[in-house]
């Protein structure tokens, strides 16, 4: 699905990604962990074209996307959420998700202005269905900027799913949530985000990684230091060492 080789991304003299090799198989759900500043979010930004890679190769389903613009890449079937929450604050909750259906194969260009009634009704129902699933149905017509943080995170998830991505990138989907809210988010991701697609999840909450991921990849200083099934990797000495003094993986 996604193959990355010797990927380097520099910001000035700092190498945020320092020759990363990384790959995800179709249908796999991969956890991405590592201390703050280890390059996790940078990797998402490079994969989605927000930051072009300094060097190295980047292939999505065999296609080279290293030099592609973000809108081209996401139209190949990639969607993401953001660690620092990005929503369209002055659009309603419904509009946030509805507008994300843009450029999907079933939305013709002319429907930008005039939509065929039955097709459009089906798509609006799909949006309402996503809002129902994510527990946002009763906030449907509120401006998104007024939602509390957990609702905004769920809105980001609904918006990403509305694009029907084949590769979904989730950047700390439970960041800033209480344990109960986190548990709800884990259920959402397990039930509606992971089935039928490839997922990469960045998360500091190791319980989530254990619950959701088939495989875990650990980054430190822009390199991969460990990879494998969650139970084995989370016991690895190098992983524990990378986290020591910053936060302990067990209770983070």
């Amino acid at each position: 699905m996604l193959e990355i080789e010797r990927l380097v991304r520099k910001f000035g003299a700092v190498e945020a990604l320092a020759g990363l090799d990384f790959s995800v198989e179709e249908g796999e759900s991969m956890g991405l962990i590592g201390p703050n500043g280890s390059g996790k979010t940078t990797l998402f930004n490079v994969v989605t074209g927000v930051y072009p890679p300094t060097s190295g190769s980047l292939r999505l389903e065999g296609r080279d996307i290293g030099a592609s613009k973000p809108d081209r890449i996401v139209n190949l079937g990639v969607a993401r959420t953001f660690q620092n929450l990005r929503i369209f604050e002055r659009l309603t909750v419904f509009e946030n998700v509805w507008a994300a259906q843009h450029r999907r194969a079933d939305v013709a260009l002319r429907e930008l202005v005039l939509a065929g009634r039955s097709a459009e009704r089906a798509r609006r129902q799909e949006v309402d269905g996503l809002l129902e699933l994510t527990g946002l149905a009763d906030r449907r017509d509120a401006l998104a900027g007024g939602l509390p943080l957990p609702d905004q995170r769920r809105l980001e998830l609904a918006r990403a799913l509305a694009r029907r991505p084949r590769l979904l990138l989730l950047d700390e989907p439970a960041g800033g949530m209480t344990p109960a809210e986190t548990e709800h988010m884990v259920r959402l991701i397990r039930d509606i985000a992971i089935p039928g697609r490839t997922c990469i999840v960045i998360e500091h909450k190791m319980e989530m990684i254990r619950n959701l991921c088939d495989r875990v990849c650990v980054l430190d200083f822009g390199r991969k230091i460990a990879e494998g099934p969650p139970e084995a990797v989370l016991r690895d000495d190098r992983v524990i060492e990378a986290y020591i003094g910053r936060e302990a993986p067990a209770d983070a």
Binding site: V74, R80, F88, R90, Q101, H102, R103, V113, L114, D141
Partner: protein, 299 residues
């Protein structure tokens, strides 16, 4: 109907077009100080078509509008790659360039023993189609408002369509919009073209109402005003800029008691609103509140 009133209403109608033009760009997050350029281009082009080439009014207006829209797209291709303040300055520079070109632009033909056509800084006289065809001031006012109603309908359709949401997404967070698969630059060029078209309709109407245009009318103040209209009236709905125009021209300019203080009052109003309602009276929150109220009443 009182002549003064007809004049004021006609002015409100025409200026509304350029206000809507600037509003559309504010929606996609760009501040243009140059929409008066497209107003001017259409005023000249449509005037040339009816007064010099003998075209009818509607084809002349359509031609002027098309030229303005084409000019806007051509300007958009290089300038929309630059963003924010740099785009604003580029539009300002372009508009001044257009005005200075009209200062030296001479293109005249002899009609019935008289020279007709743009004559540099002396302006372009005798765009007399309306008078020659016995269209009264009231009829012309109704034509202006008919077109304005059509453009407003188009705006409301746009706001409800995916395209409208895409424009607002780009205005709020262009990077996030790209993450929804949107080619931001292409849509901005489309918005600029549509904005040029809307300004062009106003420019063509203006030239035929006043029968005389000169370059200095299309100075920066016209562009600044058209921006301010949206910021006063609100960026949540196309009614916003119209409210801005009505407040400025219908109220401040037309009440003779405060005529000398118009600019002071206008500037003060903009300053107060920028502090208390940075996105205008009818901002997105206000519009959404009203929309929900209306829906609840129907339900």
């Amino acid at each position: 109907m009182d002549d003064h009133l007809v004049g004021v209403l006609s002015n409100i109608g025409m200026i509304s077009f350029i206000a809507l033009s600037a509003y559309l760009l504010l929606i996609v997050g760009e501040i243009s100080f140059g929409q008066q350029a497209f107003f001017a281009i259409s005023a000249y082009a449509s005037g040339i078509a009816t007064a010099m080439w003998g075209w009818d009014f509607w084809p002349g207006l359509a031609w002027g509008t098309a030229v303005a829209a084409a000019a806007a797209v051509l300007v958009g291709i290089p300038t929309l790659r630059i963003r924010g303040l740099y785009f604003s300055i580029a539009t300002l520079a372009f508009a001044e360039m257009v005005r200075l070109v009209f200062e030296v632009f001479k293109y005249q033909v002899e009609i019935d023993g008289e020279m007709v056509g743009p004559d540099g800084s002396d302006g372009f006289r005798d765009i007399r189609y309306i008078f020659e065809n016995d269209i009264t001031a009231v009829e012309y006012m109704l034509m202006i408002y008919g077109l304005l109603a059509a453009v407003l309908c188009a705006f409301f359709l746009l706001e409800r369509s995916r395209l409208g949401s895409i424009f607002r997404m780009i205005g709020q967070d262009p990077v996030l919009a790209e993450m929804q698969g949107i080619d931001v630059t292409a849509y901005k060029i489309l918005a600029l073209g549509l904005a040029g078209l809307v300004a062009g309709i106003g420019g063509g109407l203006y030239a035929h109402l006043t029968t005389f245009v000169e370059p200095k009318i299309f100075n920066v103040m016209l562009g600044v005003h058209s921006l301010a209209y949206g910021l006063i009236g609100g960026l949540g709905t196309a009614f916003g800029p119209l409210i801005g125009v009505a407040i400025d021209i219908g109220f401040l300019e037309s009440i003779r008691a405060i005529s000398g203080y118009r600019m002071i009052a206008f500037g003060g109003l903009v300053a107060v609103l920028l502090i208390f309602r940075p996105r205008g009276l009818l901002d997105e929150a206000a519009v959404n509140w009203i929309r929900l109220r209306l829906r609840r009443r129907h339900a």
